[in-house]
């Protein structure tokens, strides 16, 4: 398994040059991508240029920054100046941004090597990655299954050893679900911990950028590099780095278990979670039984708010300034209608319509306003739970990676977000880590939710589990670059 620590060591000891390393990742990605569809765009030129810069520094004996020279995958909804950024949409198939996202600015600033732009559900809307205009990413652990959504390509790249780590975004579970399906560690930070500037918006009050990595320490290391306060994002607050605070001990940690999260869970998912709970108990954590009665309102609340914001955020794609343009049209209105009908896929159109509906005159109070009230109540309920525990333990997804082309209805699809999206509603941090498998070899993810800005607490609990199980659940697929 490739970790940041290992790769950094290889570079520092000059066992491999950054250029050699980068070429290997690029080559593997070129070979495997036709099958995996982990990447939408490979950024060969940018990667090699950075690699050469890194090699020069190494030759001069200069100190490397934490992510310097490490190949990674950036989700394709994060703006990269001069590098095509598609949001996996026909609408932006040929769109090249004119500015850099804050996150890419800081990673580029320390010579992180970008292998390519990661596949995703179109505009981050989906739970399988199959809503990508370029075709869904496959799960490297079992190619007949999906990588999960929406950051499926990023997870597939990391699990398939086509990147050492990845940067995703999470609006209702889009980092944690693919991490769970692919057996990786995915961190959705506290809302405001990471700048959203340059993240192409889906649900602005829910979106958050975070790492998908092979292990907890990597996730922490990446988080530390992107958690700065950004004066150009008014909702950004920044966060303290966490790596130095991780001890791996959970003695005395209060772990909450709200039974609603476990209702109706299939045995195959339940069993590894029960074992994880036992293990935490053994490690000296205190287990607290809790209730979360509002869980049943979480999905409607989430989909009303997310779709409302999406309908607003996606209004700008009219073909006038950038993006897809209809070729045949009668007048301006017709041009915009055709451009949008052609440019957006079905799920995106569905959410725009839903969102416009819940915001429209006469329905606003019944839907959007009610959802906002529920949002407050859900936040309060979390606050209450966090007065009794430090971390909530839940499944990440009630199921393991779905079969490709399973053909679920939209509502069935939405239901897979049940455990993850309340975290976005409340703006909390949560990590998904692999805790076992379902008996068919597919990873089961465990979610640890913390109170605001307690990334250190959830990552520490994650690290404790990892160490105690000797990383036995951490596994990438037998493909790609194996260093």
């Amino acid at each position: 398994m490739n970790t940041i620590k290992n790769v950094r060591h290889l570079l520092k000891c000059k066992e491999i040059t950054c250029r050699e390393l980068t070429v290997r990742f690029l080559k593997a990605a070129e070979e495997l991508n036709p099958e995996l569809t982990a990447y939408i765009t490979l950024t060969r030129e940018a990667a090699l240029k950075t690699a050469d810069d890194v090699d020069k520094k190494i030759q001069k004996g200069e100190e490397l920054q934490p992510l310097e020279g490490i190949p990674f995958c950036l989700k394709d909804n994060i703006s990269t100046k001069g590098l095509r950024t598609t949001c996996a949409s026909r609408m932006l198939e040929d769109y090249t941004p004119i500015y850099d996202a804050a996150v890419w600015e800081s990673l580029k600033g320390q010579n992180a090597v970008i292998i390519g732009k990661g596949n995703m559900d179109e505009f981050a809307m989906g739970s399988t990655c199959e809503n990508s205009y370029f075709g869904g990413a496959k799960n490297p652990r079992n190619l007949g299954h999906v990588a999960g959504g929406s950051s499926g390509g990023v997870a597939a790249a990391v699990a398939g050893n086509l990147a050492v780590y990845g940067i995703g975004s999470d609006t209702g579970g889009s980092i944690r679900m693919p991490a769970s399906f692919c057996g990786l560690v995915g961190l959705k930070p506290t809302y405001g911990a990471v700048s959203r500037r340059g993240l192409i918006a889906y649900g602005s009050s829910l979106d958050q950028i975070g790492p998908i990595a092979a292990c907890t320490e990597d996730a922490a290391a990446v988080f530390d590099e992107i958690c700065a306060k950004d004066p150009l994002d008014m909702t950004s607050e920044g966060s303290e780095p966490v790596s130095d605070k991780l001890t791996g001990s959970v003695r005395g940690l209060r772990i909450g278990l709200a039974k609603e999260f476990f209702d109706g869970l299939p045995e195959s998912v339940r069993r590894p979670l029960d074992e994880a709970v036992d293990l935490y108990r053994k490690l000296g954590a205190e287990l607290v039984e809790l209730e979360f009665p509002l869980l049943k309102y979480v999905l409607p609340t989430y989909y009303i708010i997310a779709c409302a914001e999406a309908s607003s955020n996606l209004g700008r794609y009219d073909g006038l300034r950038y993006g897809h343009r209809a070729s045949a049209f009668d007048d301006l209105n017709d041009f915009i209608c055709r451009t949008r009908s052609e440019g957006f896929g079905q799920e995106v159109r569905r959410r725009i319509l839903l969102g416009a509906y819940v915001l429209s005159a006469g329905y606003y109070d019944a839907y959007y306003n009610k959802a906002q009230l529920l949002r407050k109540s859900i936040k309060n309920e979390f606050s209450k739970m966090f007065s009794r525990c430090d971390v909530l333990l839940t499944p990440t997804v009630p199921v393991t990676a779905l079969k490709s082309g399973a053909g679920m209805t939209p509502v069935q699809m939405y239901q897979t977000d049940i455990c993850t999206c309340s975290v976005n509603i409340a703006g909390l941090p949560a990590v998904s880590l692999p805790c076992g498998h379902d008996g068919k070899g597919l990873p089961v993810g465990m979610q640890l939710i913390g109170d605001k800005f307690s990334e250190d607490v959830v990552l520490n609990a994650s690290l404790a589990f990892e160490r105690e199980t000797e990383g036995s659940h951490l596994k990438t697929a037998d493909m790609g670059v194996l260093l």
Binding site: T85, I200, T235, D318
Partner: protein, 471 residues
């Protein structure tokens, strides 16, 4: 049946902050198309707005000057509509919790026009029609605006234009906007309905959008009154609709009816945290408010003895009142400087724009010097008047145009001598006067003035002449 009009105004005013409301681009008017913009004000995917603090302060200052209550916490909201000049397909504005609420503007008759609210928002870009094609210029996109919403308190077009002039004067005085209608930095929507005189319920209103001059406002109201009156008199009904005013034909025409009215789908802007004005900032703004035009006018009249009409003119433009105050500084009678300005300067500076910019050839210090010479008895009023017009022509100081003779003064003996001579040399006029032609005395005064080369005091001369003739 006679009808009365009921009007409410929505006035958009561009704030004169240096940079735009959500990014660092300049707000300068003009500039080659699309050179004053960036990812934020062109709505590039993923861009985020950052609220410009000085916009809040400018808008709150406007609110304070217009007697509004200022909400220490207000909320930005997205207002959705589709138009090519609006790159995000929503305008960031305020809806449920605006920055300012209440307030009023007092008209000259003492009647108050109440304000509903003032909120802050961003301006849109501009469509440019050229050679059959349409281009979009986003330079104006993101320029900060305040929208001042009045209650339906107007009953005539005159009240509307007076109110707008008043807004202009006040907002310029506090320095938050240049309010130039011709450059679009002040625009107005008119909501107008009719009702039978004496009726207290409102009629159905039409909204006339985007009027950009006082004459358009007045003409649109006049036309709309006639149109609605004709409809109602014929037993018809006014439809609630949005109308467009064509300044060339002077007529309004329907843009869209109620059934096609926009549904703006407002919701709180998730990218901008609530706008907070701390009490100490509000206090600083309150303390920093300059004397407002109404108070200034009252002071000019009561404390400085300036005639009301002159005071009105002098307080209409910020730079003019500053000039007046500098020109009358340390003078016995500030009214003198006012008279010079009103009688001799305004005619040379006829347009609104020039008056607003007020950069006359004569500096305030030069006028001040002249007034002091006059007050010191060194010059007669007539000579001072002549000197001032020479100063205005050349921009040179008073001393350049004053001869020793001018300064020589003119004592009672000299006046007596000239009057006696005038009576002796103009017997016809003397006879005319004696036979009751009062006006004939003016010819004699004229002669004295001529002879004295303007140094004599005309009033004193007239009195003395009458005495001499009466014997």
């Amino acid at each position: 049946m006679t009808y009365e009009m009921v009007i409410g105004l929505e006035t958009h005013v561009e704030l004169s902050t240096k940079t735009k409301i959500f990014c660092g681009c300049t707000t300068q008017f003009g500039g080659a198309p699309n050179t004053h913009c960036c990812p934020v004000c062109t709505g590039q995917p993923g861009s985020l707005p950052v609220l410009n603090k000085s916009v809040i302060e400018y808008a709150a200052t406007a609110g304070l000057a217009l007697n509004c209550g200022i909400n220490t916490q207000s909320v930005m909201a997205r207002k959705h509509y589709v138009y090519p000049d609006l790159p995000k397909a929503y305008q960031i504005s305020q809806y449920e919790q605006p920055l300012c609420e209440g307030g009023w503007v007092e008209l000259s008759g003492g009647r108050r026009i109440n304000l509903t609210r003032i909120h802050i928002e961003e301006d849109a870009g501009k469509l440019v029609h050229q050679g059959g094609a349409v281009f979009i210029d986003y330079n104006r996109g993101g320029v900060p605006l305040i929208e001042i919403v009045s209650e339906p308190d107007f009953r005539s077009a005159e009240e509307c234009t007076e109110y707008l002039e008043k807004l202009q004067t006040i907002l310029r005085a506090v320095g938050v906007s240049d309010c130039r209608m011709q450059e679009g930095s002040m625009r107005c929507d008119v909501n107008i309905s009719l009702r039978p005189k004496g009726e207290t319920k409102f009629g159905v209103r039409a909204e006339i959008k985007n009027l950009n001059s006082f004459t358009s406002v007045a003409a649109a109201i006049a036309h709309e009154f006639d149109r609605q009156e004709e409809l109602l008199s014929a037993g018809g009904a006014v439809e609630q609709e949005t109308r467009h005013f064509d300044a060339d034909t002077g007529e309004t025409s329907s843009l869209r009816g109620k059934e096609n009215a926009d549904d703006y789908r407002y919701f709180p802007e998730p990218d901008i945290v609530p706008v907070i004005i701390p009490e100490d900032v509000l206090q600083r703004l309150r303390d920093g408010l300059p004397e407002l035009p109404d108070a200034k006018r009252e002071r000019y009249i009561s404390a400085l003895g300036v005639p009301e009409a002159d005071a009105r003119l002098l307080t209409k433009y910020r730079k003019v009142s500053e000039y007046f105050e500098a020109a009358s500084e340390g003078c016995e009678s500030p009214k003198t400087a006012a008279t010079f300005m009103v009688t001799q300067m305004f005619s040379l500076i006829p347009t609104e724009a020039e008056r607003e910019n007020w950069s006359p050839a004569v500096s305030a210090a030069q006028l001040n010097e002249l007034v002091k010479l006059l007050e010191g008895g060194k010059l007669s009023r007539n000579i001072a008047k002549r000197v001032f017009s020479q100063m205005l022509e050349t921009g040179k100081p008073a001393t350049d145009f004053i001869s020793e003779e001018d300064m020589a003064g003119f004592d009672a003996g000299a006046l007596n001598e000239l009057c006696l001579r005038a009576v002796a040399e103009n017997s016809k006029s003397v006879d005319d006067y004696r036979t009751g032609k009062e006006k004939a005395i003016k010819a004699l005064v004229g002669a004295v003035m001529r002879e004295s080369r303007g140094r004599a005091n005309a009033i004193e001369a007239e009195e003395l002449l009458k005495k001499i003739i009466a014997g």
